[in-house]
């Protein structure tokens, strides 16, 4: 599928989503009519502009930057890691693993992980006193 076609598909999808939500609000959602006015107007705008985009979807597309699956996996992996190990362990761990996987020297990777851990401790735990998620594993252990 060309990128232009994919663009049309994506835009069409968003248009349908917006229209569906508004219709739902007006019918099954039982919103008072005043609450439907502005979303309705926005949905009309979305549909109108969406159709305009679908008419010439290739406009404004720059040279393709291919999406790397590996990069997506790396970035996305942080979220479950945070749920499992929390911020204080998960983030330095992530730094260590990532740096090593990208073939950085072991010493530098360790230093990076230590740096991240330090940043978290000083900024977020001590100064900001943010109650950071401990993570599922830690909670099981405690």
């Amino acid at each position: 599928m060309t990128r232009a076609a994919a663009t049309s598909g994506f835009v069409a999808g968003l248009v349908l989503l917006a229209d569906a939500l508004v219709v739902w609000g007006m019918t099954a959602g039982n919103y008072p009519w005043a609450a439907n006015v502005f979303p309705g107007l926005a949905a009309i705008a979305i549909t109108a502009f969406g159709l305009w985009v679908i008419a010439c979807p290739a406009a404004g597309l720059e040279e393709a930057e291919p999406l790397s699956l590996q990069a997506v996996l790396w970035v996305a992996a942080l979220l479950p890691l945070l749920y499992l190990a929390g911020f204080r362990i998960g983030l330095p761990l992530y730094a260590l693993v990532y740096a090593l996987a990208k073939r950085t020297g072991v010493l530098i990777a360790l230093a990076l992980a230590a740096g991240v851990a330090l940043l978290i401790e000083v900024m977020f735990v001590r100064i900001l006193r943010v109650p950071l998620e401990e993570g599922w594993i830690v909670e099981r252990l405690m």
Partner: protein
Amino acid sequence: MWDSMLSAFGAVAQPGVIWAVASALPVGLLFGLLPGLSGLTALAVLIPFVYGMDGLQGLAFLLTAHAVVYTGGSVTAILLGIPGSPPNAATIIDGVPMRNKGLAGMAVGAAVTASAVGGLIGAAVLFVLLPVLRPVVMAFGPAETFVLAMMGLTFLAAVGTGSPAKGLFAGAFGIFLSFIGYEPVTGVPRYWFGSEYLLDGLRIIPIALGIFAIPELLALAAGRSLARQQGPLPGKQMWEGARAVFRHFGLSARSAGIGAVIGIIPGVGGETAPFVAYAAAKQGDREPERFGTGVVEGVIAPESANNAKEGGALVPTLAFGVPGSAGMALLLGAFLVLGLQPGPEFLRLHLDIGMALVLVLAVANLFAAAIMLLLTPALARVVTLPPALLVPVLMALVTLGAYSVANDMRDVVATFAFGALGVAFVHFGLNRATFLLGFVLGPLVERYLTISLNIFGPSFLLRPIVLVLIALTVLGLAAPRLRRAWRRRARA
């Protein structure tokens, strides 16, 4: 009036106040630099420290920290493509292309200097208005706020780069998403489907972080380095950028003016000012098509507006005790903690404190710029660090920043979700800046139109300032076309 000024100078020149400003400066800058941590968080963290200080010291401390956040935030926005705080998102539009062309140093130099100039002009506006604050604030009611929000919306098309259809589409979608959550007037929650998280509506920081930071980080993780180092060294570039602010002084001043005015209006949030200033700069330029490709004017306008709006936000805060922004709401709390009550009484009895705050604002902005300029050559080298090191650190900052908004893991999830959306937007050429602007303006338009109709009925459109604003909007939209027609006639 003059004794107030002298007294203000005297009050500010105390070692206690100077120390307060000096210690708050790096804190504010740091909070600006770290993505996801906003001026609001800075204030919240610093308020406990204020309990021990006396009046002006404490206020100077808090005001300084809050006012310089955007100066720091612009650096992150340009170097990393991640807005340090939501108002810095507008700087990304031209800042990142400049970085990609190897002009990061120039962009940062311009942004920081524009911040200082804007901040000074904002302070000057506050100073000039101090005796007449009340009539000014009274003049901008719900009707005027609505029209201003509409003006912002019409500039949506102007803010976008590339295909206008896609820019408008993204903006409309942003507007639509802003309606999730409680409807302001009937109190009915919309499109929340039983999720407590959605009940309050989507939060802006996870959105801004997600759609801007995640795609950048993905690109980094895929091995693309942040810039090819062409052009002169960062140090020299920086002074080029700084000089550009003065070469385009008219632009800087106009943008600051826009920022200050928008700051004065309590209902309109801080995120709108830089976008409106950007759009105005683009529409008023001889070659608007250059904007978005990486021109220094595109960086000067939003940054100048960003800092000027702080001076504006103090206006309703001091005049009525009505916070001009969320940050000002916290500052108000600090006023009370320090035993002062802003309002009509306040200005009558403590005009010198008002002026002292103006001074603090001016000084803080100057020094913030100086510090950032000193640090820029070092900071600009961040751009050359290997992605293997940058990615984990930035991911850490982004997730921590998102979490810290409300100590809620769901904000982190939202960041990733919007990250996916952001990736899609980039891939399909949809404009993220317009999306954010739509999201910010949507609730304003609904809220203030409903209130205006409720109070005045449709005749609110005939109020004097409303008419002026409508005229300005039409002018702004027509400007490029008028200019072209005028040039054609001049040539013939």
